[in-house]
């Protein structure tokens, strides 16, 4: 099956044209995004995500290489043709008093209307369609500055949607949203890409959402840009290095997420009955224990009888939900909640032998 390519970059180099020497932020990028694809641009702060998006949207000149949008070079588009190909949602929130959602969305018809911006019947229909698509039906007469952050972001996306472009570029659309709002906006973008065949490119700091929702990832790192489906990016092993300078972070390739690295306290061996409860496992991990499955609960005595001062302390956890038993160096403590279990585990190894 042939994929319809919406954006293609070859040897693209981005940055700022200084008076004497240009400042290159990222170079030699080969990128592609297709119709119907949701592409997440990820990378650390200051790596140039925003610069890349602004270059692709035509706000900043490229330093080298080429950008192809649809069948043509980006430079060959006139301002008004470009506006029919690319719509943009910026990260800054715009506050205009008394502006209604319907008026905001209808500004998206700008490239299609005449000198005075009067909307015809088809424009009105497009506006209503865009409002409905972003889930703001019935909000048309509401003032934009009285919406919640998430609703306002939806309205801004509605404006871009009314612009009716094959490519939509969004600079951190989830930046000021809570977790529900973020999922909401990204799943809306996914739906628009999937159902309406748009190519949607957005930058985000939220790796988990990017890896779980996007069809394709563009990852910017000091080593260069990496492109691929989320699984390929995870498998590349480059995500770990994304925050390599930060020793507090651990990347979990299975879950595809970063975690704050905890002080290592010891090993917790779980009896098979306990191991069945995933919450016990994550709670112990969060408390700094490495969790292992204890396959032979009977022959545990050799560990407790000869504690080696170099090897880490090993706890044994047995029992079932609500009646856990923790054994360590011959002592046994019981716990009736996961919180109690973690607390007891920490206390036991803190005072060895007491």
């Amino acid at each position: 099956m042939k994929r319809e390519i919406t954006v293609a970059c070859r040897g693209l180099s981005i940055g700022f044209r200084g008076h004497h020497n240009p400042k290159v932020i990222a170079g030699a990028m080969d990128l592609e995004a297709c119709q119907g694809e949701l592409v997440a641009l990820i990378g650390g702060n200051g790596i140039g995500k925003s610069t890349l998006l602004k270059t692709l949207a035509g706000f900043l000149p490229r330093l080298e290489g080429e950008i192809r949008i649809g069948q043509q070079q980006l430079d060959h588009y006139s301002a008004s043709d470009k506006a029919r190909w690319i719509s943009f949602v910026s990260t800054e929130s715009t506050v205009v008093a008394n502006l209604k959602v319907r008026e905001l969305v209808s500004l998206g018809r700008y490239p299609y209307t005449g000198w005075f911006g009067r909307l015809d019947e088809a424009d009105h229909q497009m506006v209503e369609w865009a409002i409905e698509m972003v889930g703001l039906k019935g909000f048309g007469e509401r003032f934009v500055n009285q919406l919640s952050d998430g609703e306002r972001q939806r309205a801004m996306i509605g404006r871009a949607l009314a612009q009716d472009t094959p490519l939509m570029i969004l600079d951190e659309p989830t930046a000021f949203l809570d977790i529900a709002g973020r999922l909401d906006v990204v799943s809306l973008l996914h739906q628009l890409a999937d159902e309406k065949g748009k190519c949607i490119l957005f930058s985000t700091h939220d790796l988990q959402i990017a890896l779980s929702t996007a069809d394709r990832i563009w990852m910017m790192s000091p080593q260069g840009i990496l492109e691929g489906i989320p699984e390929e990016v995870v498998a590349s092993g480059r995500l770990e290095r994304l925050f390599a300078h930060n020793s507090q972070l651990n990347f979990d390739p299975e879950r595809g997420e970063f975690r704050v690295r905890k002080k290592f306290r010891g090993i917790a061996r779980l009896a098979s009955a306990v191991g069945g409860n995933p919450l016990v496992r994550t709670a112990l991990e969060r408390s700094g224990f490495e969790v292992e499955n204890d396959l032979t609960p009977e022959d545990t005595d050799w560990v407790t009888s000869h504690p080696d001062p170099v090897s880490p302390p090993v706890l044994h956890i047995d029992g079932c939900d609500g009646e856990w038993k923790i054994r360590f160096e011959g002592k046994e403590v019981s716990a009736d909640s996961i919180g109690g279990l973690c607390y007891a585990a920490k206390m036991l190894i803190r005072q060895p032998g007491s």
């Binding site: 470009k82 943009f88 715009t94 205009v96 008026e103 700008y110 490239p111 005075f116």
Partner: protein, 346 residues
């Protein structure tokens, strides 16, 4: 946005009659008061009009009232355009120094004119066009400076403060120019600085009114550009706006509007800031095909009211209209600043 016009019918139904009433009131009130019937009779040419009244009415009061209308409309629309362009709720021709730019332009023109030609030909039609042209150029140059500053500094308040600084620097330059100029040109300039609504002559009106009408038309023609600017320049560009054409149109319109008024009435403050806010409050939609006509009418009305207030108190003497607009305007500006804390920009 035809629906908005319908929704605003009640507001227009109050505004337009009020404008007519205050226009006639402005003709009636002055050092000599005329009655409704005599004024209207004379205006509508019912024959019953004594020559003395006709002279006062047509030579002095009608030009003054027309000047008030033109000045109010021009300053309000200039202020509206600047607030949209700079996305700054307290922008206005006086605050950002556009008015002082035109003052400097006029000062340079008048003082050098006096130097070269002397005499009173300055107050001819040609002289009036010269003054207004100098004011436009001064306003345009100042607009350019402010846009350059605003493109480098994103902070709205810093731009305002720099505007105020530059504005006072320009006034100092004007003072220095006066200090170094000869007696005859200085005299001309002083007469010019005493300009007010009531000092416009028929010749000047022939320049002022067409200039303001041209500026307002330009503004109406840039309404779509201004709408796109509401979301900021980046959005405007992403929607395919021709930035160059847009800036040229808005610059030209603002310079012509603010410059023309300053050229003949001197600097009149606060109308340009407050009228757009009052219109936003009572006329709904911030889209400019809605805002511009409403600002024209409201600005005219407010200026007529200011002029009336400047006549009323002692009835014998006239207050400077500039002080009246300041007294009217400052409380409203304070309200804007307080409200803006929670409502955000324009």
């Amino acid at each position: 946005m035809t629906s908005d016009y319908k929704k605003n019918l009640p507001a227009y139904a109050v505004l337009i009659p009020a404008l007519l009433v205050f226009f006639v009131l402005d003709l009636m009130v002055g050092s000599v008061h005329f009655s409704w019937s005599r004024t209207l009779g004379c205006l509508l040419g019912n024959g019953d009009c004594d020559p003395q009244l006709a002279t006062i009415l047509f030579k002095f009061r009608l030009p003054k009232a027309l000047t008030a209308l033109a000045a109010g409309a021009a300053l309000s629309v200039a202020g509206l355009q600047m607030q949209t362009l700079f996305r700054n709720p307290i922008a206005g021709p006086d605050i950002l120094g556009i008015s002082s730019g035109s003052t400097l332009g006029v000062a340079l023109f008048v003082l050098s004119f006096g130097w070269f030609f002397g005499g009173t030909t300055l107050f001819s039609l040609a002289g009036s066009w010269g003054i207004v042209l100098a004011a436009w150029l001064g306003a345009g140059a100042m607009m350019l400076v402010i846009v350059l500053i605003a493109s480098r500094l994103k902070d709205l308040m810093t731009v305002l403060i720099l505007g105020l600084l530059i504005s006072s620097a320009l006034f100092s330059v004007v003072n220095l120019l006066q200090y170094f100029s000869n007696e005859s040109s200085l005299k001309l300039f002083i007469i010019w600085t005493m300009g007010s609504l009531s000092s416009t002559t028929g010749d000047q009106l022939m320049v002022l009114v067409p200039s303001v009408v041209a500026g307002l038309l330009l503004s109406l023609f840039s309404a779509k550009f201004l709408d796109a600017f509401l979301l900021g320049e980046r959005y405007a560009r992403s929607m395919g706006m021709n930035i160059k054409v847009a800036y040229i149109l808005v610059f030209a319109s603002t310079s012509v509007l603010a410059g023309s008024v300053t050229a003949f009435c001197g600097p009149i403050g606060f109308i340009g800031i407050i009228v757009p806010h009052l219109v936003r409050k009572f006329f709904g939609s911030p889209l400019h095909l809605n805002m511009i006509p409403a600002s024209i009418l409201s600005g005219g009305l407010l200026m007529l009211i200011a002029d009336l207030l400047s006549q009323l108190p002692g009835s014998g003497s006239t207050l400077p209209v500039n002080s009246v607009t300041a007294l009217l305007g400052i409380p409203i500006v304070i309200w804007i600043i307080f409200r803006n804390k929670k409502m955000g920009a324009i």
